[in-house]
């Protein structure tokens, strides 16, 4: 008694989902299935402890509207079921380099070929590597149900550790990135116990736009895996905006500016270590945008 549905259109998927999540006796939750790389690993653990695992799935991988990257005016839309491999292969402006660098560090190639951007944000892990680059890009989440469409900032869509504002009858359709200046550059740095196939201990995404006079016109800094939800460092951004991008800035990245983070103590690292590592990664990221010799100062 397990249900597996694989609709070929968004409309069909939404009406199926609406029916399944309706109130009353017909309610029968369907689990949305994209790459399955987050859903599936939880199965082995749950089975080992005799816990129930979802049985009924709505596979969204055959819905063409959900896959691929396109422009919508100045914005760029990434379909929710677009894989990491698709993102790496796409031609995107330098503001998206951080997202590509994150894509290249998600699991191994086998995971990147199946895992999707939509799955990464809906799963809402504090360590989701797609989230810091998307927050730095001011991403919005396009959501649809039979009731209609809505768009919410990613920053409010993710509400906590594995919690989102998605209703049971809704699908994430796309991630919407508003226009960015062609001069914006970006970078993603991830710290794990080794270089690949690891859950981030801390990650940092930085987007930087430098004016013609060498000062910082705009900067966004997000830290992942150091709070329940990846967090923008607004105070640090304000501190650096308008300043000249040179080595002296590294010293301005002081511990106090990281007090918004609420890192966990867990098997991967202590809270103290995570906070210190976040600061080092931010300094490294800044140095990366400067002349090559500055990198040593940051370490």
């Amino acid at each position: 008694m397990a249900i597996y549905l694989r609709p070929a259109s968004l409309k069909a998927a939404l009406s199926t989902l609406a029916q399944a999540s309706g109130k009353g006796r017909s309610a029968h939750p369907l689990t949305v299935l994209a790459g399955g790389t987050d859903i599936y690993p939880t199965r082995a653990g749950k089975q080992a402890w005799l816990e129930s695992f979802p049985r009924d799935f709505l596979d969204i991988t055959q819905i063409p509207q959900l896959r691929g990257i396109r422009r919508d005016g100045r914005a760029i839309l990434i379909g929710a079921a677009t894989t990491w491999t698709d993102i790496v292969a796409a031609r995107l402006p330098p503001a998206f380099d951080a997202l590509k660098q994150a894509a290249l560090q998600i699991g191994g190639l086998q995971i990147q070929n199946r895992g999707t951007l939509g799955g990464n944000i809906v799963n809402a892990s504090p360590a989701a590597d797609g989230v810091p680059p998307l927050l730095a890009l001011d991403a919005e989440v396009d959501i649809a149900s039979v009731r209609g469409e809505r768009s919410v900032p990613l920053a409010s869509f993710i509400r906590g550790n594995r919690q989102t504002g998605l209703a049971r009858d809704e699908l994430v359709v796309a991630i919407r990135l508003p226009g960015h200046r062609a001069s914006s550059r970006s970078l993603f740095l991830k710290l794990g116990a080794r270089s690949h196939l690891v859950i981030s201990i801390v990650s940092v995404a930085m987007l930087l736009d430098q004016g013609a006079d060498g000062t910082i016109a705009d900067i966004r800094i997000t830290v992942g895996a150091a709070s329940a939800v990846p967090t923008r460092l607004a105070a640090l951004e304000a501190e650096l905006r308008g300043e000249r991008l040179d080595a002296s800035l590294i010293e301005r990245v002081t511990p106090g500016l990281f007090s918004v983070l609420t890192p966990l103590d867990d098997v991967r690292a202590s809270s103290h270590y995570r906070r210190a590592a976040a600061r080092i990664l931010v300094r490294r990221a800044l140095a990366n945008f400067m002349e090559p010799q500055v990198e040593e100062v940051a370490a």
Binding site: Y4, A8, A20, S26, G35, R55, D59, I111
Partner: protein
Amino acid sequence: MTKKPSEKSSGASKDPTRRRKVASGAGVPSAVAAKARPTTSDMVSVSLVVNNVHHSLALDPRTTLLDLLREHLDLTGTKKGCDQGQCGACTVLVDGRRINSCLTFAAMYDGAQITTIEGLARNGALHPLQQAFIDHDAFQCGYCTPGQICSAVGLLAEGRAKTADEIRELMSGNICRCGAYTNIVAAIQQAMGQS
């Protein structure tokens, strides 16, 4: 044409009402009927091509691609290491791309072409990567080897790796408990030189 799955299933299933509410009516997309169609109460029919052989099967929809290969098709070359995406022992190629077969339902591959380690040799001649793994002694116990080789076939097709470091990085989804990494990289370099 939309065929209501519940028409067939209601007799056999233990709790037909519950299922019918979801699986029947206007909300059931026609694609569900056309592809991976629910047949009996528990089964979906799946047809796929594995190593150039066509198979049509009725499966519990939760059957992983790995279990389909090993338990239903007796293709035991593909190994189960962790069963949760961490080790790469179960790597196969789907339409030429490497994936972990343990992390995915077979029903998701209706209509796909799957290649496993058993499908790499041609007319009795080993695939260049299989030969290179032997030439370089690129294994010890051999448990990770089918996954390593299928993964490396995907790597060569992607064409992104040029240096030894890039090979190591892009093979990071495959773990070797015996630590044969040095020889695995050498074997892949040999095969790269030939292709």
